[in-house]
């Protein structure tokens, strides 16, 4: 029995009778007395009164914009948002109060507000920002390492010298240092051919239509995918903005009228089957199914084609570990994101130079070389067996700190090294090689190709930079330091230290110039953690001040990212609290991945080679995907369990989905040539079932995602796309038979669907490759 829905429902029999009377009022009512009829009428009136009262209240509330409980109850979506909003508001108020309380307390204790955030999530940001001026005083290459690694040992080293300088800056301005305001967004991506892109083409026609209909108005085009199939496939929501702009100009036009005028000017477009304008003034766009079928046919014949973008020479600076230290989880994000960005650019045909800006130059080498001389006096003849570079580093560091004589020798070594004395270069090369070998192991595992171009490369160029800046009078001397003050920046760049040495600022300026002029790059992408945005913004501002590049023409961008956190939401560490070595992390991933596969008895169904391929794909793919699928700019929580979960938005899920589609095609028994023949014979891939169409539309969105990605470099959108694609496929596959078996045992292959499977798999493969994930045909 379904519960009655009317309030105060009267007994059913009454209802029936009442309806009977209403249906035939003139006919002589049978079996109903007047009294009863009166009762029935009263009952109906009573119910109607109740309903009317309720609806009147709702209407009044809506008109007044009052969120009454009744109204919220009637609109569950509204309620949800309303509640969420209320919670956020509440939390904001609480946080504001906490900040105020902390400020008051700090003021009492004499702490300046730059550090007021305390040990909160915001802390790393604040801490780094504070370190920036400190860094300006540091010794050459040391500094970058310190920043990136943020490790206890080094910090101690720099403390003594930095204190007063840091104070000096803090004194001047008691606020968080800021970079110049971000420049207006420029359109660096010039599309030559939209290929399968739907959004691109729609945007094109809508822009034209709007321009024609309202030449005087310039508001940005608002075009989105429809949130609900009820509203078509896409929505153009510009009419409201235009209506408002018109009103400002003194013409009143309702959004719906505006929308109608836009639609009237819409040029003929093969993509659109129809448009609709609901009263609110949206323009709902329905895609032409013939167009979809045709595009799918294209893909099946010619493969996945990406939009053509005007080619650029791009330098992607990523990974950038330090010599003499093992790579750790802190380098992971830069490596994974940088690689994926490089792959993306390569996929759209850019000329990409991947640079590994390693920390291979600086004071620490004096110490290491001096130690090498002592430990392996014979190193000129025999390659020293340094073995574990990390402990080698620790040993030398210990001597450096404790032994004044050694310290002096170490400084001498630096000078000699920087003068390129062969013996010292040899020692330096040996040391770097140890590190390099170990790093390359990691890169190999992760399929990452990189050109090493460390800080040492810029040694000679740094002198030239100082000369240029001095002659062009960009430097100002303060307490023996030579500083540059880029426009709009609070923190100056320390180009020359008081002892005459160079800094991280110097080498980054040198690298910037080298990349712009010698490498002639159009785009420079720095994939470095978000904590260093201030530093890069200052460097870029300096570059612009120096007239090295025009930001409307060249894209120079710091692509920042958040921290890797452990499951306790704190910085990712081993159980004993040490930094996690990247190698160990990867090995653990492989171990767990193998365990997982065996748990599912996959090892019984695959050859050992296939198992290894699947294992590595799952492990490395899982680690990469977990990183890439999170919004880049936010911190993300590293969890093996989550990344190796075969449900949800994970690499494993996608890899399984991919392997399954491949196996569907494989097991259909249809040969490649048959499929090609079918595709050739059907210019339009026949699609009729709604789920076929839905899948096809999702496939076609790939181009849009790629276009968007090249602009935003937010790779999680591609992950989201992939996830939606495989869910859409699942929907399709559960309703549409690809291979049908009749009762008699004959099998029919629905060729159009099989081709659609193939198209889907190819698209997935392409997307996975952009992300740097190895698709394996069997899992």
């Amino acid at each position: 029995m379904a519960p009655p829905t009317k309030p105060n429902k009267t007994p059913k029999k009454d209802d029936k009778k009442a309806n009977g009377v209403a249906a035939a009022p003139s006919a002589a009512p049978t079996g109903i007395s007047r009294e009863q009829e009166l009762q029935n009428l009263e009952a109906d009136k009573f119910n109607a009164e109740q309903d009317l009262a309720r609806l009147t209240r709702l209407l009044a509330a809506m008109e007044k914009g009052e969120m009454t409980e009744e109204l919220l109850e009637a609109c569950p979506n509204l309620q949800e948002v309303h509640q969420k909003n209320a919670k956020l508001k509440y939390r904001k108020a609480i946080l504001e109060r906490s900040v105020a309380a902390q400020e008051a307390e700090n003021a009492k204790n004499g702490i300046k507000s730059a550090a007021a955030a305390g040990p909160s999530k915001g802390a790393p940001e604040a801490k780094k920002a504070k370190e920036a001026p400190k860094g300006g005083e540091q010794k050459g290459g040391e500094k970058k390492g310190d920043k990136k690694d943020n490790k206890g040992g080094e910090k101690k080293e720099s403390k003594g010298g930095d204190k007063k300088d840091a104070k000096g800056v803090d004194k001047k301005e008691n606020k968080t240092p800021s970079a110049p305001p971000r420049a207006k967004k420029h359109n660096y991506v010039v599309v030559k051919d939209f290929a399968g892109s739907i959004m691109g083409r729609l945007a094109d026609v809508f822009k034209k239509a709007i321009k024609e209909a309202f030449p005087s108005i310039s508001v940005p085009l608002v075009l989105t995918e429809a949130s609900n199939a009820k509203f078509g496939d896409y929505q153009c929501n510009s009419a409201m903005g235009i209506s408002a702009a018109l009103k400002a100009q003194g013409t009143a036009k309702r959004p719906a009228e505006v929308a109608a005028e836009i639609v009237a000017k819409l040029p003929a477009c093969p993509l659109i089957s129809k448009t609709e304008i609901p009263p609110a003034g949206f323009i709902n766009v329905y895609l032409n199914e013939e167009f979809i079928a045709k595009q799918c046919g294209e893909i099946s014949r010619h493969g996945v084609k990406l939009p053509t973008i005007e080619s650029r020479r791009v330098i992607v600076d990523f990974s950038s570990p330090n010599i003499a230290k093992e790579m750790h989880v802190g380098h992971l994000r830069s490596t994974i994101i940088g690689d994926a960005i490089s792959r993306l650019f390569e996929a759209v045909g850019f000329d990409v130079l991947r640079l590994n800006h390693i920390g291979d130059w600086g004071t620490q080498f004096g110490m290491l070389i001096a130690h090498l001389f002592d430990r392996f006096p014979n190193f000129q003849k025999e390659t020293p067996a340094i073995g574990d570079l990390q402990s080698f580093y620790k040993e030398s560091k210990k001597r450096f700190d404790e032994d004044a004589d050694f310290k002096k020798r170490a400084y001498e070594c630096v000078v000699k090294l920087q003068n390129f004395e062969p013996e010292f270069i040899k020692a330096w090369t040996d040391i770097c090689n140890v590190s390099r070998t170990s790093n390359n192991e990691v890169y190999d595992k992760l399929d990452i190709v990189l050109n090493e171009r460390g800080e040492s490369y810029y040694q000679t160029r740094m002198g030239a930079i100082v000369e240029e800046l001095t002659t062009r009078s960009f430097l100002r001397e303060e307490e023996g330091r030579h500083l540059m003050f880029p426009t709009g920046c609070d923190i100056p760049l320390t180009v020359v230290k008081s002892d005459g040495g160079f800094t991280y600022d110097t080498s980054d300026l040198a690298a910037l110039k080298n990349r712009l002029f010698e490498e002639n790059a159009d785009w420079l992408i720095y994939v470095v953690d978000a904590g260093q945005s201030l530093h890069f913004d200052t460097i870029f501002a300096a570059g612009r001040d120096l007239g090295w590049y025009d930001e409307t023409q060249k894209r120079v961008e710091h692509v920042g990212f958040g921290l890797v956190l452990g499951e306790d939401k704190k910085k990712f560490k081993t159980r004993s609290g040490e930094t996690v070595r990247l190698k160990d992390l990867l090995d653990e991933g492989v171990r767990r991945s193998e365990e997982k596969l065996k748990e599912k008895n996959r090892d019984k169904e695959m050859t050992p080679e296939e198992l290894v391929a699947a294992r590595d794909a799952v492990a490395y793919g899982g680690i990469k995907y977990a990183d890439l699928s999170h919004t880049r700019t936010q911190d993300y929580i590293f969890s093996y369990d989550r990344m190796l979960d075969d449900k949800g938005n994970t690499a494993v899920y996608l890899l399984y989905a991919y392997a399954r589609i491949r196996s569907i095609v494989r097991q259909s028994g249809v040969s490649e040539s048959d499929m090609t023949a079918f595709a050739t014979n059907n210019e339009h891939l026949p699609l009729s079932h709604p789920k076929e169409l839905k899948l096809a539309k999702q496939v076609l969105k790939f181009s849009d995602v790629i276009l968007q990605l090249v602009d935003t470099l937010m790779l999680h959108t591609l992950c989201d796309y992939l996830y939606t694609l495989s869910s859409t496929f699942t929907e399709f596959y559960s309703e549409c038979y690809v291979v049908e078996k009749s009762k008699e045992g004959t099998t029919t292959v629905n060729m159009n669907r099989l081709v659609l499977c193939d198209v889907t798999a190819n698209t997935m493969e392409k997307a996975l490759r952009v992300l740097g994930i190895r698709p394996v045909p069997k899992m």
């Binding site: 029995m1 009166l38 009952a43």
Partner: protein, 796 residues
């Protein structure tokens, strides 16, 4: 809330090695226990442990005295001590055991006295001399003394004894004798009594052994018996206070330490003394509802027990709103709850709020963290739920870290669900580390925007009890498993620890009471609101017209045992009918009226209005006036078209009927029918009633009436346990009686009722009990049917 709560026994013996079990088995036999007793005892883990330690004490003492350890004749005394001695006085047990071993304590009565003594003095050093005195060590009762005492007792009952002979309850004699001779040997007394009775009455005859002849009862007495039987089935009392005074055997104020399971700490003595100083020894209870729904019939029991307990012992009872979950709390619930408490006739000594203690609770939470007894955890709700939950990986995190994170929680730095504060303790059911605080970005009705962390029930409840110096924390049986955490928490913070006592929950068949489910009924539009008269919320019962007095006496009759009871609504209805019969004035109302014209009205010369008593059985009852005219209305049911069958005793062709209160008899003259053949009116001739025209029945009627609306309610659910998935596989919503509400829009009542007030109660003659609905207005009066006059025998 599940209809029955299964308590996992805390007494399962964890003997994993059979050798350990065998040893325990042998030791218990050493006490002289029978096989079955040993097996039964072994099932009770804590008792077994206690006994084993006593046995060890005894054996050690025997060995030290150089006596035989292999067997011991006084094992039953040790067993007695083992069963009665509570853990909090275990440190005094050796002294008692010594008295038994040394044969100073010889009888069960002495052993019991000894145990009582050490329990009373659990917190003090033991005064052995006083103990010995208290249990009559060294007192020898001679045979002569016994003989004399028995003689005097028998003499006092002699008359009755001679009459009743051996039917007289011997226990009375034994009891009286024992009361006079505290330390005499019970067996000896029994023998003496038997002997003296023999002397008095001679040998037993056949007559003596026959069962008591039943007193032949007339019908009335039979009814009385039935009544008595009913009362015995539901063991209780007629008023709550009486019930409490006669049945509730809880601890005396300040003697918390004597209760089962109470935990003594080095501070207990001081804390109890301070507590007594603050309260002056007054009983303090509280009724602590969460203000996230309205009270239901189960709460009627809680309210009655808490308030009546305080009343019975001259104490006070607070109404405490346990408002720790702001998401679900609403102002209307606060008001509704207080209103219902007052409706039941109770006045809270004070209205308190858990939220008033938020600051203190927060400070205590920090103390717990600092003591290493609480930690911040990031497990999700799902991870904490379920049977085999994993221990939290954050359990052992550094104290400093927890402190910082707890501060972060309070400061809004963490998201909802990202962290909780948990107590480090394991509950009886194996549930680990109950949550004490969780983050909720939610405005609180009383603390406003101060907090974004809110304490849980587990954490708040006992501490608020402590703050309020509650003496008896009375709650339902489900909370028995939380008792240990209750005590743990008070003791962890070294604050006064009240005693928790549990009683059985009251449930009612054919309804649901959980807030969530009622909410579901409301949102599904099956019922209108929390006080829809088909529900069993207190507001609903009140609206239906159930008198608070009847509800209270119903609850009192149920008693206060620990067992959960599920009661058929009929049982409550019976209490209600008893009350309403005496208290609701009668009136006449016609639910389905049919007009009747008296053709010979003018010849009857009747008054235009007559007076009718409100309580006809009461000769000095108040009265009300009703109209009379040539046209009146009777129930359609009271008229039968055509000739009536034998069973039909009212108006029909050839059959007259009487009108109540006015002494008229009606004879049908003409039936008026509408176009459709239905009866639209009657014409009758009236006669005054006399010896010759006496009708078979008298019916009610109205004349010159006003129209009102009447709402008839029936049971909302078809099944006894609508929440039971086996009984109702489709879920409780599927079990609703679609026709549980019928509304009659045109019911005629006498005009004098135009001035009724909301919730006025009436008995509509021959129909049922009705009350004026809250929706009534001056222009539109609405009556709710409270009950039919008699129990509805079945479906109509």
């Amino acid at each position: 809330i599940p209809s029955s709560v299964i308590l996992v026994s805390e007494n399962r013996l964890p003997f994993t090695f059979s050798s350990a079990r065998a040893m325990a088995d042998a030791d218990l036999r050493w006490l002289g226990l029978s096989d079955s007793k040993v097996a039964e005892t072994l099932k009770n883990k804590s008792l077994t442990e206690q006994l084993l330690s006593i046995i060890k004490l005894a054996k050690d003492q025997l060995a030290a005295a150089g006596r035989n350890v292999q067997s011991f004749p006084k094992g039953s005394l040790l067993y007695n001590v083992g069963t009665k001695g509570k853990t909090q006085c275990a440190h005094h047990l050796p002294a008692v055991v010594r008295l038994i071993v040394e044969d100073k304590v010889k009888s069960d009565a002495q052993a019991t006295a000894a145990v009582n003594y050490i329990l009373t003095h659990a917190m003090a050093d033991l005064n052995v001399a006083e103990l010995e005195k208290e249990c009559g060590v060294g007192i020898v009762v001679t045979a002569d003394e016994i003989e004399d005492t028995v003689k005097s007792v028998i003499a006092s009952y002699k008359e009755k004894l001679v009459a009743d002979r051996y039917q007289f309850p011997i226990g009375k004699i034994l009891g009286d004798t024992r009361a006079k001779l505290k330390w005499a040997d019970g067996q000896y007394i029994a023998k003496e009594v038997e002997l003296q009775l023999y002397e008095l009455l001679g040998p037993r005859t056949d007559e003596d052994t026959k069962p008591k002849p039943k007193v032949k009862a007339d019908k009335k007495e039979g009814d009385k018996k039935k009544e008595e039987k009913k009362m015995r089935v539901i063991e209780g009392a007629t008023t709550m206070e009486e019930l409490i005074k006669t049945r509730a055997r809880l601890h005396k104020v300040g003697e918390n330490y004597k209760t089962e399971g109470y935990v003594l700490t080095p501070h207990t003595d001081r804390l109890l003394k301070e507590h007594l100083r603050r309260t002056g020894g007054q009983v303090r209870t509280r009724f602590p509802p969460e203000p996230n729904g309205l009270l239901h019939i189960g709460h009627a029991k809680a309210i009655n027990i808490n308030f009546a307990y305080a009343k019975a012992f001259d104490g006070v009872c607070n109404l405490r709103f346990d408002d720790t979950n702001p998401e679900k709390e609403e102002k209307k619930f606060f008001e509704g709850i207080e209103q219902m408490v007052r409706w039941l006739g109770y006045t809270p000594a004070e209205i308190t709020y858990s939220s008033d203690n938020f600051e203190q609770l927060y400070k205590w939470a920090i103390v717990l963290i600092e003591k290493g007894l609480a930690f911040v955890c990031h497990q999700t709700v799902e991870e904490m739920r379920g049977q085999d939950q994993k221990p939290s990986p954050w359990r052992e995190r550094p104290i400093k870290e927890s402190l910082q994170l707890f501060q972060d929680m309070k400061n809004g730095k963490l998201e909802e669900g990202e962290a909780t504060l948990r107590l480090k303790l394991i509950l009886e059911e194996g549930k680990m580390d109950p949550v004490a605080y969780r983050i909720k970005y939610c405005h609180h009705e009383r603390s406003k925007d101060t907090w974004c962390i809110y304490p849980t029930y587990d954490y708040t409840h006992c501490l608020c009890d402590s703050i309020e110096d509650i003496t008896h924390s009375l709650c339902t049986k489900e909370f028995q498993s939380r008792r240990s955490s209750y005590y743990w928490l008070c003791n962890a913070l070294d604050v006064y620890c009240p005693v928790q006592w549990e009683y059985g929950r009251l449930n009612v068949y054919y309804t649901v009471v959980s807030k969530r489910k009622i909410m579901k009924l409301i949102t599904s539009k099956i019922v209108r609101d929390w006080d829809d008269p088909r529900l069993f919320t207190l507001a609903a019962l009140r609206r239906r017209g159930i008198p608070a007095e009847a509800l209270n006496s119903f609850v009192a009759r149920l008693g206060i045992t620990g067992s959960q009871m599920v009661i058929d609504p009929h049982v409550m209805d019976a209490s209600v009918r008893d009350y309403l019969n005496v208290h609701s004035p009668r009136t006449m109302a016609v639910l389905d009226p049919i007009p009747v014209r008296i053709t010979n009205f003018s010849s009857l010369s009747l008054p235009s209005s007559i007076s009718i008593p409100d309580f006809p059985s009461n000769s000095c009852s108040s009265t009300h006036d009703v109209n009379f005219s040539d046209t009146l209305y009777i129930e359609r049911d009271d008229y039968h078209q055509g000739t009536a069958s034998k069973e039909f005793r009212r108006l029909a062709t050839g059959q007259n009927v009487g009108l109540k209160h006015i002494g008229l008899v009606l004879y049908l003259e003409k039936e008026i029918t509408g176009e459709d053949g239905s009866v639209t009116g009657l014409e009758v001739r009236a006669e005054e009633v006399n010896e010759t025209n006496k009708p078979k029945a008298f019916i009610h009627w109205v004349s010159n009436p006003i129209a009102v609306q009447v709402r008839l309610y029936e049971r909302l659910f078809h099944h006894k346990n609508p929440e039971d998935a086996t009984e109702v596989p489709g879920g409780f919503l599927s079990d609703c009686n679609e026709n549980s509400l019928s509304i009659l829009h045109r019911v005629y009542v006498d005009r004098y009722l135009a001035t009724v007030k909301v919730l006025d109660r009436f008995q509509f003659e021959r129909i049922g009990f009705f009350a004026v609905d809250l929706d009534s207005s001056k222009d539109k009066i609405i009556f709710n049917r409270t009950l039919l006059l008699k129990e509805d025998s079945g479906k109509k």
